[in-house]
Amino acid sequence: MTTAFIFNVVLVALLLVVATWIIASRDAFSAVVAFVAYGLLLAIVWVELSAIDIALTEAAIGSGVTGMLLLGAAGRLRDAEATAVSTGLPLRLAAAVLCALIAAGLAAIVLSPPSAVFSLAPDAMAHLWESGLGNPVAGVLFVYRAFDTLLEKIVLVLALVGVWSLAPDRFWGGIPGLYVYQQPNSVLTLLSQLLPPLGIVVGIYMFWTGANNPGGAFQGGTILAAMWILVMIAGLESVPSTNRRALRLLVVVGPATFLAIGLVGFAVAGGFLAYPAGYAKPLIIVAEAALTLSIGVTLGLLAAGPPERMQQQ
């Protein structure tokens, strides 16, 4: 008990130190490095809170993919950083006060919980078996709150359209730059030959086991995306042109499948995103498989950035 307590105190202290480092750092690159470390520490905190699903998501997306996107942004901004005008003291003070208010509000809520704790957890667990799923988190994502999950996947596609829209008109539908990361190198080639076979298996396993154990489409898709990005950065596989029909189909196949299953629910189960009795699990697996693929491709393309050149005819 005491050892666990000391470990947790040290963990939280480390988290606060790294968070301060992110804010205090004057250089975008070191702030991003600190942010990645922060995400990994936060993943350990989620493990300590027995929220393995969230820990996996935090490590894969919060720390991994977001870190990669931020590194790309920092790289693109490097030239502008030297000449950037620093924000004035009043603005910084205002930001600090507002952030402190939010932190104080959250702390007040967390530190003084209501006397009667209202929880849907027992109800959620009691009916989980009807869906055929073993992982309550998957149950919440694909049965109880399926609508939220559907919207979340559509937002991901919109985010990609947003990134593509940053391209100048003449490069619309062209090939993403990815130049910020590109650093062809024999060691990197070795890694991108050794790791993807393993990573692809782990990614698919992560999606497959998500029905009954911690895991799921988002975590699995993120690992697939990471493998794809690795192969593209090492130059073993060229970055695809964003006007390729197959590529765009892969981006939308997940949300489209999920939406189709939801619409079929009207006809056979009496409501949007309702599953007919006995078919819940197979339908969820189909939706998750398509989503894993779409998430992998979308995150890979998000990291690759806006199109920057046209395909040579």
Binding site: Q183, N185, V187, L188, L190, L191, L194, L195, L198
Partner: protein, 95 residues
């Protein structure tokens, strides 16, 4: 038998944490990037290896043990490759 295994676990993990400690001190105290990398990779390779070795008797055979060993192998792979990549950049910046 169990007592002997427990002593082995304690010894191996203590040795492993010693390497992590030494690696951390090296990371903080060594003068330049290349020597700091050297200190860091020692902690990853040997330190984690010893910790995994010490934990082997405590986990389920064979899958728990295989998982631990593959974690160690993956960290070996990523650690050594990242060290190489950083070293290449350091060399480029020096020249």
């Amino acid at each position: 038998m169990t007592a002997a295994l427990n002593i082995f676990t304690v010894l191996a993990i203590s040795a492993g944490t010693f390497f992590f400690l030494a690696g951390t001190i090296g990371l903080l105290r060594f003068p330049d990037t290349l020597t700091r990398l050297h200190a860091l990779t020692k902690a990853d390779n040997v330190g984690l290896g010893l910790v995994v070795f010490g934990l082997l008797p405590l986990v389920q055979w064979p899958f728990g043990a295989l998982k631990l060993i593959s974690v160690w192998l993956l960290v070996q792979l990523s650690g050594s490759i990242i060290a190489q990549l950083i070293a290449v950049i350091v060399r480029q910046e020096e020249s």
